[in-house]
């Protein structure tokens, strides 16, 4: 695409895949091409060593298995530390697309803390695995998740043994991770046979995955028409390859990428029907299972450019964006609390299906928690004014009546006429409110506005 990006395009694109635009971003990218912006977003090192400083960071968080299991409250504190750490990483990263994709996969392979396991340390290990593969190879990612310690606990793989296979992981592997709900493509029998092939994997005392041949079902299985026999610890890879060989798998994963990053393609039969972007992303994905290549197709598509109100951003994207706009650190406990109220806690998805989409986020509870977040961020920005690390140095809040500056600060190209009228109406009726009160009101209302959530 060579047609220059509009301010709306930049706002919308960065809003959906980069935790929101700053005013600098809007000025920088408006008028340049979509390819140039995508080149910039995709400039994530291929070598994961470049972005995997995580063991040190985990150490700094003093998250250890022993500390987690020793004390439940300590576990909560560690969880908040871990959540804050990732939120702050989302805010400050040089590669926001990498963090956005890591979040995408956390949602796709939704794993949560469970008592007594998995614990925070395992969740952080999984988080690093997700980041390593976030723009890597889907086949490798799928294999890694299948024998990921947190996942082995979360979906009961660790307790599935020969003779008594536990179907939990086998079912979600097919339904949520690869093929979607598609009874025409796999049967209950495939789930049971996959569960048999997955037996034998456990989590050892060092909280690492381990294969125990005695627990493994050595019999013949047939999964998706593929006969699997005598492969022992490799059988999970055979099941993975059988699932990847099904054309519906690339379509389903592509559909989900479009739904979460671009727009809602609707509840469709991904094989029969036709969202053209889904089909193109799927075709690219299937070539070599390169996530980077598939996301590249998605981001460069004309359909990915701005159309009004394509997707309701998740709470964590909004929280990180708000913190970024005002240069407020995103690791405070208040941010995690507001996210809890909005229904999104990192490392604690509501269930293995991941987080809701679109209208399911829109409710008074969410509205009030978002409002609470805005109130806190405003106070925090004022408290830390002059000391904070905004991209172009410390800045104060815009004057209350400079609505264009407020829109820009929050990465919105321009307010809708309705929001403009609401804000002007407030300013006209604010009476004796002083300038600080007015700024606080405008900021709270901007964060509460429809166009800020629905981009």
């Amino acid at each position: 695409m060579t047609e220059p990006l509009s301010r709306e395009d930049v706002s919308s694109i960065l809003g959906r895949v980069a935790f929101g635009a700053t005013d600098v971003d809007l000025d920088t990218w408006t008028g340049r091409t979509q390819d140039e912006l995508v080149d910039h977003l995709m400039a994530v090192p291929a070598d994961s060593a470049m972005f995997s400083a995580q063991p040190d960071e985990v150490k700094r968080l003093s998250v250890t298995a022993a500390a987690t299991s020793a004390n439940k409250n300590n576990g909560r504190a560690q969880l908040q530390a871990a959540q804050g750490w990732w939120q702050e990483r989302m805010r400050t990263t040089a590669w926001p697309l990498l963090e956005r994709m890591t979040l995408f996969w956390h949602d796709h392979f939704a794993t949560g803390l469970g008592q007594p396991a998995p614990d925070v340390a395992m969740m952080l290990t999984q988080n690093q695995t997700l980041r390593t593969h976030a723009l890597g190879n889907f086949s490798e990612l799928l294999g890694a998740m299948t024998v990921d310690p947190a996942m082995l606990h979360w979906l009961d793989g660790a307790r599935s043994v020969t003779g008594k296979p536990n179907e939990n992981y086998g079912r979600e592997f097919l339904e949520l991770f690869t093929m979607g709900v598609s009874p025409q493509h796999y049967s209950e029998g495939d789930i049971r046979e996959a569960a048999r092939a997955f037996t034998g994997w456990t989590v050892n005392g060092q909280r690492a995955a381990a294969f125990d041949a005695r627990r493994h079902d050595a019999g013949v299985k047939t999964v998706l028409g593929r006969r699997i026999t005598d492969l022992g610890a490799e059988e999970y890879l055979a099941v993975r390859d059988a699932a990847l060989a099904m054309p519906v798998t690339s379509r389903f994963v592509a559909w989900k990428l479009v739904q979460k990053l671009a727009y809602d393609p609707g509840k469709i039969d991904v094989m029969a029907d036709g969202d053209r972007l889904v089909a193109r992303v799927a075709a690219k994905l299937r070539e070599a299972w390169s996530i980077r290549a598939a996301v590249d197709v998605l981001l460069r598509a004309p359909e990915f450019r701005h159309r009004p109100a394509q997707v309701a951003r998740q709470p964590v994207e909004q929280a990180v964006h708000a913190c970024k706009a005002l240069g407020v650190a995103a690791d405070a406990v208040q941010v995690a609390q507001a996210l809890d109220g909005m229904g999104q806690k990192l490392f604690e998805p509501p269930n293995v299906g991941g987080w809701p989409v679109d209208e399911e986020w829109l409710a008074p509870g969410t509205t009030l928690a978002r409002y609470r977040l805005a109130t806190w961020i405003e106070a925090e920005a004022r408290r830390t004014a002059g000391t904070i690390d905004l991209p172009v140095g410390p800045r104060m809040l815009p004057p209350s009546d400079d609505l264009a500056a407020w829109a820009a600060r929050f990465g919105v190209a321009r307010f809708t006429p309705n929001t403009e009228r609401t804000l002007r109406g407030y300013l006209a009726s604010a009476g004796k409110a002083n300038e600080a009160q007015r700024q606080k009101s405008v900021m709270t209302l901007v964060i509460s506005s429809p166009e800020w959530t629905v981009m």
Partner: protein, 434 residues
């Protein structure tokens, strides 16, 4: 002059009217028995409890005796050597009319059993839908929409569409984050709140003049609907939020109980007691996906359900008086029903205490009504138990005997007096209501 508890949004009422309604009665009026809108005060209430994860029906309502032509108890004992209950551990469903069913309740449900003996509990066996989905997500959606064959809005949401709502009315509330499918209609929807204490503004109440101006402005997003559907819904939700916060500003809320479910039932009670027209409350009690460690996990969850139900009507959680007992007026007008996305398979999937069960199909539903003398709900066992095969050739799964649409149609027709045209082909269950 009575002062209405429900406050209105002035210029934004038009948009907020999606949720709101006709002026009703003041709490002051209600207290002295005058001025209460009888249509609203006498409205039947429904609390829907979703047992998320797929509650194991067979360890909730246990086959304890073989009955003519069906060796259910024998099959149960054979397939559940670790998880099964012995007959004497269960609470027998032993009212005269039910003795022939050979069933007992989980020992974790003593309060429910008491209500059963009082004739307040209708148990519908084997409820499901054709071409059952074993997916949590697909099956949950079907239980929420009440329609397995095509994509439609939520069955309570459709009730809202047909019933309408006047300004200020909050006819249906979901307790939890976001807005569940069940409450989403085509033109109207319920409201989702986490609890009442959090249904407040972080910057203070309306008595701060600056805060009030902000809240008024927030409500204003609902007054100028955006063109795009999602943004318009966002705006309407803002307007409704401000109305709800103002309506609940004076509601006295007991301290947290320590039970997440009991806290939700406290919220449900308070909403039903407010004069804001709340008719349906939806809440979830999750964790029933017992692929492992089922016995301990399900017993804990069912015991919490049982204690929560006790609190809902008596105000007492265990020995602690959390709130007043439910008033006779409300008791006579309130029904609770339980749903779950599916039951679980007949056989257990492991050995010993760690074993569990995998996703299954049909399961029982409970409907709990007013005291029997005043209740249109007929207590006791309804419908047929699903076939479990024979000891020599046991079934793997429970196939439905009652289509969930018939249960919903019964509730809509006989309890809420608002039948759903979508269910015109489905007769209400005979004998479930009198």
């Amino acid at each position: 002059m009575a002062v209405s508890r429900r406050r209105f949004l002035g210029g934004t009422a038009g948009a907020a009217g999606l949720y709101l309604i006709s002026p009703v009665l003041a709490r002051a009026g209600r207290a002295v028995g005058i001025g209460v809108d009888p249509a609203l005060a006498n409205r039947r209430r429904l609390v829907v409890i979703f047992l998320g994860g797929g509650n194991d029906g067979l360890n909730t309502v246990v086959p304890v005796a073989d009955v003519a032509g069906a060796a259910r108890a024998s099959v149960y004992r054979k397939l559940r050597p670790s998880l099964g209950y012995a007959p004497e551990q269960t609470l027998r469903l032993d009212r005269a009319a039910d003795a022939g069913h050979g069933l007992g309740l989980s020992p974790s449900l003593p309060y429910l059993h008491g209500l059963y003996r009082d004739g307040r509990v209708a148990l519908v066996q084997g409820v499901d839908y054709p071409n059952h989905s074993y997916s949590h997500f697909s099956s949950t959606e079907i239980w929420h929409t009440g329609e397995p064959e095509r994509s439609v809005s939520g069955w309570v949401g459709r009730h809202l569409d047909r019933a309408g709502a006047s300004e200020g009315e909050v006819r249906a509330v979901g307790i939890g984050n976001g807005l569940p499918v069940i409450l989403r209609g085509d033109s109207r929807q319920g409201l989702g709140i986490v609890n009442i204490p959090s249904t407040k503004f972080a910057d203070g109440a309306d008595n701060d003049v600056n805060a009030k101006a902000r809240h008024d402005a927030l409500a204003g997003f609902g007054g100028h609907p955006e063109a795009e559907a999602l943004r318009a819904l966002h705006g309407r939700t803002s307007g409704a939020t401000v109305g709800l916060v103002r309506n609940l500003a004076e509601t006295k809320v007991p301290a947290a109980t320590g039970s997440a479910l009991a806290d939700k039932l406290v919220t449900a009670r308070l909403l039903l007691e407010e004069d804001i027209g709340t008719e349906v409350v939806y809440l979830e009690h999750s964790g029933f996906d017992t692929h492992a460690n089922q016995r301990a996990q399900q017993e804990r969850l069912l015991a919490e359900l049982d204690a929560g139900l006790g609190m809902f009507w008596t105000g007492k959680l265990g020995t602690k008086q959390v709130m007043e007992p439910m008033s006779p007026h409300l008791t006579d007008r309130t029904m609770v029903m339980t749903l779950s996305e599916f039951g679980r398979r007949i056989g257990e999937n492991g050995t010993g205490a760690g074993s569990g069960t995998d996703h299954g199909a049909a399961s029982p539903m409970f409907l709990i009504g007013p005291p029997a003398a005043a209740s249109p709900l007929v207590g006791g066992v309804h419908g047929d138990h699903p076939d479990m095969g024979t000891v020599a050739l046991p079934a793997d799964n429970l196939v439905m005997t009652t289509d969930l649409r018939r249960v919903y149609e019964s509730v809509l027709t006989n309890w809420l007096h608002n039948p759903d045209p979508l269910y015109s082909r489905y007769a209400p269950l005979p004998g479930l209501f009198r």
